[in-house]
């Protein structure tokens, strides 16, 4: 449990948010041309990183807006948050 600094509302309790999993997975432009392997990769395969991870969150009990977060999954420390569409601030 931790505090999240929503880019729209400021610091709020984590229980107000819902986690949306790994960020920056781009939906294939031409789904009909994908092989089964590529579909599986898009739909199911996840990095599931122990360490610094880029992920999506939604302020579901607040502004209801999606945004991105950089968080260390080994200690739940949040490095930064940034809006949808923005470039990840750290690599």
């Amino acid at each position: 449990m931790f505090l999240i600094n929503c880019p729209y509302c400021g610091e709020r309790d984590q229980s107000e948010f819902s986690a949306g999993g790994e960020a920056h997975i781009v939906r294939p432009k031409q789904p009909t041309e994908l092989s089964d392997d590529q579909w599986a990769e898009f739909l199911f395969m996840r990095k599931n990183i122990k360490g610094v991870q880029f992920e999506r969150w939604n302020h579901i009990h607040g502004c209801r807006k999606w945004f991105n977060m950089v968080r260390d999954t080994s200690n739940d420390k949040i490095h930064t948050v940034y809006k949808m569409g923005e470039k990840p601030p750290i690599k």
Binding site: E41, R46, N48
Partner: protein, 417 residues
């Protein structure tokens, strides 16, 4: 040679004030090479080693564990054992395990305290009733005992449940599997460790895997904190850390690792002699032999490798527990902890070969792996020894995420993901 545990050995050792019991397993340094190495010294990993040695005559094998055996999810679960899963593939898998549980204490010469006290799943709305009745029918077609109970029968089976129609989610009935129950989780790890060690398996604790060495399409060995160990076959049973191992060898897994919490109360006199679970309000409870209430909470929604979890998850579970069991309102909770569970998109496990020769994965057990420990070990040992799956775990291969032939058990998995 291991001494046999019996009433006579107990009496004999009483004369020496229980100070001369034989060590249950050795603490060996790793050899240079093994025929197979199991990564992960939890229940599933130790069971795999045990059945590799016992049924497939592979004695030159090792289990490497980064902490101490049974210190991960084996020692962190709520010890529930059942096999009332919906699909044929899962019914085969989990009932295979349940049948081994029934004779496990004798097989291991170690009391795992398997207690078939029954597991009851509650229904709180019309859809629950439909789903649970459907599952009951499916179970019976697969030869798994299951009965539907109406509200009065639920109350009779577990009198402390609040069956008032006026609560927020009233109890409208439930299913009961009488062969289901609980076991002592630590004893399962210790029993398998002792049994495997007696057959020559090296159990190497405090030995973290740092890398897997490959030669083209096959494995050559593992880099560990105790040096390089050569082997041709590696079975990975790393639960929540499966993705960490997979990353070392460029294997892609569909897993997400999340904290799953449990808590126990102060010990009290016997009050609940079964296991009661509820999907809809997400609360399940049983009582340990020590007298503690063992309560299972849900998973956090976000990926995390911290073995703690969020407070609001525990709070939600306890609210549901108090509504269903008002008698517990003044109980004090003693301990709370989290374990990292590796969840598959279809809530079913992966027991599979990989595209790398000699590399096998047993993972994705998510929130309910403990119940399958003996079956998982048995089938994974078969897969490693023969380099092909047993018919019971053939459907649980990693390629199902490509073919789309998923085994969707979100309904029977019982823990809200």
């Amino acid at each position: 040679m291991k001494n046999k545990y019996s009433i006579f050995s107990l009496i004999k050792n009483a004369f020496s004030y229980h100070e001369n019991w034989q060590r249950a397993w050795r603490d060996p340094e790793p050899k240079k090479e093994y025929d197979a190495i199991i990564i992960g010294g939890g229940g599933h990993g130790l069971a795999t080693a045990f059945y590799l040695a016992k049924k497939h005559n592979m004695k030159n094998i090792a289990v490497v564990e980064k902490g101490w055996i049974g210190g991960g999810n084996t020692g962190r679960n709520t010890t529930i054992i059942r096999s009332n899963y919906l699909w044929d593939a899962s019914a085969g898998l989990y009932d295979h395990a349940l049948k081994i549980w029934e004779g496990l204490s004798q097989e291991l010469n170690y009391n795992v305290m398997f207690s078939q006290r029954g597991v009851m799943n509650l229904a709180h709305n019309l859809q629950d009733i439909r789903d649970l009745k459907r599952r009951t029918h499916a179970n019976r077609l697969n030869g798994i005992d299951a009965v539907w109970l109406n509200t009065e029968e639920v109350k009779k089976f577990c009198p402390i449940i609040n069956t008032s129609p006026n609560i927020r989610y009233p109890v409208l009935g439930g299913t009961l599997q009488r062969r289901a129950g609980t076991a002592r989780h630590d004893a399962v790890a210790w029993g398998y460790a002792r049994g495997a060690d007696a057959m020559g398996v090296d159990i190497i604790q405090n030995c973290e895997v740092k890398g897997i060495k490959r030669n083209g399409d096959s494995v050559e060995g593992i880099e560990t904190t105790k040096g390089f160990i050569k082997t041709k076959k590696i079975g990975v049973v790393a639960a929540g850390h499966s993705s960490v191992i997979a990353k070392m060898v460029d294997v892609k897994l569909p897993l997400e690792s999340k904290p799953l919490q449990a808590l126990v109360s102060e010990p009290v006199k016997p009050i609940i002699d079964t296991v009661v679970m509820s999907n809809a309000v997400h609360a399940y409870v049983s009582q340990s032999d020590k007298g503690e209430l063992v309560i299972g909470a849900g998973t956090d929604a976000y990926i995390s490798y911290t073995q703690r979890g969020s407070h609001d998850v525990v709070e939600g579970t306890l609210k549901a527990i108090l509504e269903l069991y008002p008698i517990f309102s003044r109980m004090k909770m003693l301990r709370q902890w989290g374990g990292i569970v590796d969840i598959c998109p279809d809530a079913s496990p992966i027991i599979s070969k990989t595209h790398i020769k000699g590399l096998y994965f047993n993972c994705g057990w998510g929130t309910g792996g403990f119940k399958a420990t003996p079956g998982s070990g048995d089938l994974f040992a078969h897969t490693i020894a023969n380099d092909e799956p047993h018919k019971l775990n053939a459907d649980f291969n990693i390629n199902r995420f490509v073919s789309g032939d998923l085994v969707d058990e979100h309904g029977a998995a019982a823990v809200a993901h």
